[in-house]
């Protein structure tokens, strides 16, 4: 009988007790790390003093003295390092946002093409992905940049689409728009239209789920998003004037110019990330049980509706987590812009680092910005995962 009563664990000496040993190891680890940290700090202090540098971020107020080919906010050489750095962060975000948008579209298209019944299309998609994934990204970026530089004509012989868009060695030129002050009402009308369209679509879904009646979707949405702002635009007397780019002398003047480095960077990043997204989309769609498609067919649904209503919502559960990490990869890969001369955060930061010598601060700033982007995307992913998680019994 006494054998069945649970005994207390045997008394061990404290140096064998896992709890105390755990504390000892953690203490030892902490002491080692603290000691190394102190050594590094001490060495840094000595080395910095030897080079007559000053730590701290005051150097950000010094004059920059270098030009940046593309700035989304006003910038000139007399402004501070801090201003230059902010301009470069905006450039990085611009590349990241545009890149993510186009990469997703292209990636989904190639991913679906990979599963196409047409053998030619499927194999082309397969080899596209293989080439993209087996060549280094910097290689692809430099390749696109050299292609653009060597193949595009001089400004004199620019390729032109009517007289609105010009493409040449110096960049892509599109018309610039000037606002007479009333354009913000048109923008407001657009936002109102978007909200109204979302509200309308939600209402239509609710009505269909409760009564089975299908109200029109496409036309009212188009009307609210497109026609309504257009009406406001014309009603206010067309408050936008166009400045068209035109050839004058050796160059194109006027309009907005997109430097070829940005175009090359975007083409390279979009095609590269789309290759990875295509594989994610393909595996997501293949992860959905084929029985779901068969059940949809046996219910008599069309192929398009099966894809939209049954397969893709379930595939999204598998697709979205790796998809967001690909977005993060695109944002981090935009740092390769320094290899082709586009002024993103790493490129401008390197100039600042070389001119001021404040390596520790600049690298710390880089890490802070990239970690912020990374944590934001991770938070979004956790929220999304929690929202669509399967509730299990």
């Amino acid at each position: 009988m006494a054998d069945y009563i649970a005994e207390k664990p045997p008394k061990v000496p404290f140096y064998n007790d896992p709890f105390y040993r755990g504390i000892l190891f953690q203490l030892a680890l902490f002491v080692i790390v603290a000691f190394l940290g102190y050594q590094m700090y001490d060495n840094a202090r000595i080395n910095i003093a030897k080079q007559n540098l000053v730590t701290g971020f005051n150097f950000l107020q010094n004059t920059a003295g270098f030009q940046i080919p593309q700035a989304l906010i006003p910038y000139h050489e007399g402004m501070s390092y801090g201003r230059a750095f902010v301009v470069s962060i905006l450039n990085t975000l611009l590349v990241a946002v545009i890149g993510v948008f186009f990469a997703t579209i292209l990636g989904f298209a190639v991913g679906v093409a990979r599963l196409s019944k047409n053998w030619v299309v499927a194999r082309m998609a397969y080899w596209y992905v293989e080439f993209i994934r087996n060549l280094p990204l910097l290689f692809q970026l430099i390749f696109w940049y050299l292609v653009l530089i060597n193949v595009l004509p001089a400004p004199r012989d620019s390729l032109a689409i009517s007289d609105l868009i010009f493409v040449n060695q110096r960049g892509l030129y599109v018309p610039d728009f000037f606002d007479s002050g009333l354009f913000k009402f048109v923008l407001g009308a657009l936002v109102l239209g978007l909200l109204a369209a979302v509200f309308w679509n939600k209402n239509v879904t609710k009505k269909q789920e409760t009564t089975g009646q299908q109200l029109p979707r496409l036309l009212p949405t188009l009307g609210l998003i497109v026609v309504f702002p257009l009406l406001v635009y014309f009603a206010l007397g067309q408050p936008l004037t166009i400045e068209k780019p035109a050839l004058s002398g050796f160059n194109i003047r006027g309009g907005i110019s997109v430097i070829p480095e940005l175009v090359a960077l975007l083409i390279g990043l979009v095609t590269y990330t789309a290759g990875f997204i295509a594989e994610i989309v393909r595996s997501g769609i293949q992860a959905v049980n084929y029985g779901q498609t068969e059940a949809g067919r046996s219910l008599g649904l069309q192929e398009g509706k099966i894809l939209n209503l049954i397969v893709i919502p379930q595939a999204l559960r598998v697709i979205v987590p790796p998809l967001t990490s690909q977005f993060l990869n695109l944002a981090k890969n935009s740092s390769l812009a320094v290899g082709i001369g586009y002024p993103d955060m790493v490129s401008v930061g390197q100039t600042i680092l070389n001119q001021s010598g404040q390596a520790i601060e600049v690298v710390a700033m880089w890490m802070a910005v990239y970690l912020t982007i990374s944590i934001t995307i991770s938070l979004f992913m956790n929220w999304y995962n929690a929202k669509i998680a399967l509730v299990e019994r």
């Binding site: 080395n47 047409n118 290689f139 981090k332 690298v363 880089w366 890490m367 990239y370 990374s374």
Partner: protein, 426 residues
């Protein structure tokens, strides 16, 4: 009277309309108007692509010549495609960088030795895997380091250490348990061989500074060193992340998330510009060593996540069984858990290696010349500058990168398929 047939009917050939090449074409390529259009567009695109490539690379290419005149259209009177004499002339530079000409045999020997140790490791049927792994991951790095770098004070110190270590190991072998004696004696003999060779004349290998290394040599050195050095670190980080001790987990998670949240370029800049501040001046590492440290840190963080995934796939029963047998933590991990986990993640490790190999192109930004760097440097040579030099060089580099990476990814798929059949439930 038989209602049930007593003999098995032979399989008849399939009906005409269901098998055959023409039926396949009908089903896959031209089954609907949209399909026909897509097929035609696709075939046209493929034709154009192949036409351009073959035209540039083979048909209009120049195969022999001494300098740029051989590749200029107006000098030889026809349209010029790829300029292969340029690649032939610069091939040494592309492969070895500026490594001293007479010492290039050392790079070749290192490469051959590496292949000799690696290829049996990759083929699943070859036995003695543990011995092979020890040879490749532990002993080969020392040999390769010595062959590539040559005689520097550090290697002399290494030689002395290896001599004393081998004497100590031999003494231990006398008292070692019988089943380990073979291993120990083998290890000791290797160390003695190293020392003897070192002093018998190979010790006079001249030093080749790492600033002279370049080209494909640098790409391979960075990638292989990154993976090999980061493996033990990443195993410790993965185990640390799963630990129940809060301090250990805090440091592991902090390190991994910090490195994974920033791009490799930032880590390279950190290693090149910031690390020298934290180390006393006299020990300051040279350019290539800083890059190796940066790449190893980066690779350790990514590998740690992959190994952690492999550890999570081990059923809890294995841990519990090991603990029930009374094994300590290190024995449990070393003998039971890690061998299974590492076998699971071999495809993941190969994929990380492929990514690392592609990422070696980034070292050009911290002024180390890898294959792409040497290519770009050769564009400045006026002896070979022609309109097609860029594209020839890129075609050459593209072929090398594609062949290497595609072969590695095929191997990874092969290993994954083999592992899956071993673990499939059905």
């Amino acid at each position: 009277m038989n209602y049930v047939s007593t003999k098995i009917l032979e399989a008849q050939p399939a009906p005409d309309g269901t098998v055959g090449a023409w039926v396949w074409v009908r089903k896959n390529l031209i089954s609907s108007p949209l399909n026909i259009i897509l097929t035609l567009i696709g075939l046209y695109a493929i034709y154009k692509l192949f036409y351009v490539l073959i035209n540039f690379g083979i048909v209009t290419a120049v195969w022999t010549g001494e300098d740029r005149d051989a590749c200029l259209a107006d000098k030889i009177g026809r349209e010029v495609g790829a300029c292969w004499p340029y690649v032939h002339a610069k091939f040494g530079q592309f492969m070895y960088g500026f490594y001293t000409h007479e010492e290039r045999w050392r790079v070749n020997v290192t490469g051959l030795l590496g292949l000799l140790f690696l290829v049996p490791l990759l083929i699943p049927k070859v036995p003695y895997k543990t011995l092979n792994a020890v040879l490749f991951f532990v002993i080969y790095p020392f040999i390769a380091f010595y062959l590539l770098v040559g005689k520097i004070p550090f290697t002399t110190t290494l030689a002395y250490i290896s001599l004393f270590a081998s004497i100590a190991v031999l003494v231990y072998a006398i008292f070692a348990p019988t089943n380990k004696r073979l291993w120990v004696a083998f290890g000791a003999s290797l160390l003695i061989a190293f020392y003897v060779l070192f002093y018998m004349g190979l010790g006079a290998l001249p030093h080749v500074e790492s600033s002279r290394w370049g080209g494909f040599l640098v790409s391979l050195v960075v990638a292989i060193t990154g993976i090999v050095v980061s493996m033990p670190v990443s195993i410790m980080l993965a185990l640390g992340r799963r630990s129940r001790l809060p301090v250990v987990r805090f440091f592991s998670v902090g390190f991994i998330e910090l490195i994974r949240g920033v791009p490799l370029i930032t880590v390279l800049f950190f290693a090149t510009y910031v690390l020298p501040f934290f180390i006393p001046r006299e020990w300051s590492p040279d350019g290539l060593l800083r890059v190796l440290i940066g790449v190893s840190l980066f690779s350790a963080a990514y590998l740690a996540e992959i190994i952690r995934g492999g550890l999570q796939a081990i059923p809890k029963g294995q841990f519990e069984g090991a603990q029930a047998l009374g094994l300590s933590y290190s024995k449990m991990m070393g003998l039971i858990v890690l061998p299974q986990a590492l076998k699971h993640v071999i495809p993941g490790i190969v994929n990380t290696f492929i990514g690392l190999f592609k990422d070696t192109t980034l070292v050009i930004i911290v002024s180390i010349l890898d294959l792409l760097g040497v290519l770009r440097a050769s564009f400045a040579d006026s002896k070979w500058s022609t309109p097609t030099t860029f594209f020839t060089a890129f075609l050459f580099a593209g072929i090398i990168y594609f062949v290497c990476c595609y072969a590695m990814s095929r191997y990874s798929i092969f290993v994954e398929n083999r592992l899956n059949t071993g673990h499939k439930r059905s």
